[in-house]
Amino acid sequence: MSSPSEIRVCLPPHDAVTPWTLAFYRERGGYDAWEKVLKNQTPREEIIETLKTSGLRGRGGAGFPTGLKLSFMPRDAQGQKYIVCNSDESEPGTFKDRDILRFNPHQVIEGMALAGYAIGATIGFNYIRGEYYEPWQRFEAALIEARQAGLLGENLMGSEIAFELHSQRGAGAYICGEETALLESLEGKKGQPRFKPPFPAQVGAFGKPTTINNTETLASIPPIIRNGAEWFSSIGVENSGGTKIYSVSGHVNRPGNYEVPMGMPFRDLLEMAGGVQDGRALKAVIPGGSSVPVVPADAIMECTMDYDGLSQVGSALGAGSVIVMDETTCMVEVLERISYFYFAESCGQCTPCREGTGWLYRMIRRIRNGEGTHADLDRLKSVADRIEGRTICALGDAAAWPVQSFLKHFRHEFEAMIPREEAA
């Protein structure tokens, strides 16, 4: 049997020296789709239909069908509309958009142009997390190249079509990856999520209809328009079309980004990443970024990496951020660190999250310090259950899921840290 290999759709080939240049991108068919659309004035519905048929789903975590999302925009409404790219990649374990922006910025630009055209938006914004300085520089340089080549601006290729694109840097706040917090931040405010409805498609950036997509999602669009919906959907599996970049980190021999067909067995992905570090045994995997439920070794080893496969083992694909933990890992320490993160990053707007994340963190710290009680274990679950579903945005759920799943699968490790007199 041949060893599993990558199929690179959003990332450039491994051997490319300067893949971020316009010249390199064009050589591989880059901007062909955009030029064809400009030349033929392709009906907007046709692009949206192609994306629907391709099976592309949002790569930022929620997995919502991209074509359907674009179709929610009020296409006939007059006035300004916006397309926004969410490059505020901040979920612990996720580092794919950084590489897309560093190595393939033009594909994001072309994807935003095509999506913008499909929804009738003449302006786009790419919100890039503040710490991503090098990726931002590459994206800015690509914008200049694209403008000079007449691929962005007004009267594109002699048509009436205009599309202008700007980047905006974030300044360090996990919550801004939440789409409505991102919009607040884009407008120059604190990044606190908005109530929905109204949804961004009705009232988005600067009060105008807006669609927000993840970087990897937008980067997937040009090859789909160029090669066709069937090409893309045939790469993946039923209900999960195309390739997916998995960011593999933690206890593996070769951490990094691996772009592979959706539906790859986890064991193949683990093999690609060089297997568990130092030949140790696998203990557990967080398959989609630190917020998704943890999966024990025996379950994940039989699992496929796609929306349905991970759902069947009680977890989620999330952003495809695979955190691998070997047999030496202390699950109480890991959960303490995860809980601290959500406590630190809660925006403070909703009481269950603002207060509850602190309770969770302090209780886990107490248990790890050998000062916990058995009542704390039940209280942990109770607090997590009362945060989940009771906040404006999903950060509350993100704080609850790790606690619930670590306790479900590794309760014995928490119990072992509770002093004996308590155990009686």
Binding site: S90, G93, F95, A171, A173, K190, S249, V334, F341
Partner: protein
């Protein structure tokens, strides 16, 4: 005493105006304005907040709440190069604790403190999105990945 006139240089004001031109509201340029000012002054003082508010036509509180909400803005003086060591899960699993300990020892500071020469302030950071190169840290705008405790001197030597 209130200062009269702006403390922002003409060059900074021009950069802020260029940024403001991208958006339908001037407020949208506030993070960029704060970033430019911080690069000049090292941190966001009350004077910077006032000056940015004036340039963008905002209330001071609208600038101040942004300056305090985001991690990358410093509302107290910090070293010339903030050093942010990622301590989140993926880095934790690959030895971030040892990196933090070695760094603090090497610089003679505790977490959150600034070196005597004013070059570095050490911070424990949340995930910086470079988990494939864990353990990692950011020095100023630069990422340093696959860190080893005994190579920290080489990294720091690049920042004078």
């Amino acid at each position: 005493m209130e200062q009269t006139g702006t403390i922002l240089t003409e060059a900074i004001i021009q950069k802020i105006e260029a940024e403001a031109g991208k958006y339908p509201t001037r407020r949208a340029a506030v993070k960029s304005a704060l970033r430019y000012a911080q690069a000049e002054f090292g941190w966001i003082s009350e004077g910077v907040v006032k000056a940015v508010a004036e340039v963008l036509g905002l209330e001071r509180i609208e600038v101040f709440e942004v300056a305090t909400f985001y991690d990358m803005f410093y509302t107290r003086p910090v070293g010339k190069f903030p050093v942010r060591v990622c301590t989140n899960v993926s880095c934790l699993l690959r030895g971030a604790d040892g990196i933090m300990e070695a760094l603090c020892q090497r610089l003679g500071v505790e977490e959150g403190e600034t070196t005597a020469d004013g070059r570095f302030t050490v911070f424990a950071a949340e995930c910086l999105g470079a988990c494939g190169g864990a353990p990692m840290m950011a020095v100023g705008d630069d990422y340093h990945e696959d860190l080893k405790a005994d190579e920290l001197d080489n990294v720091l030597a690049g920042y004078q």
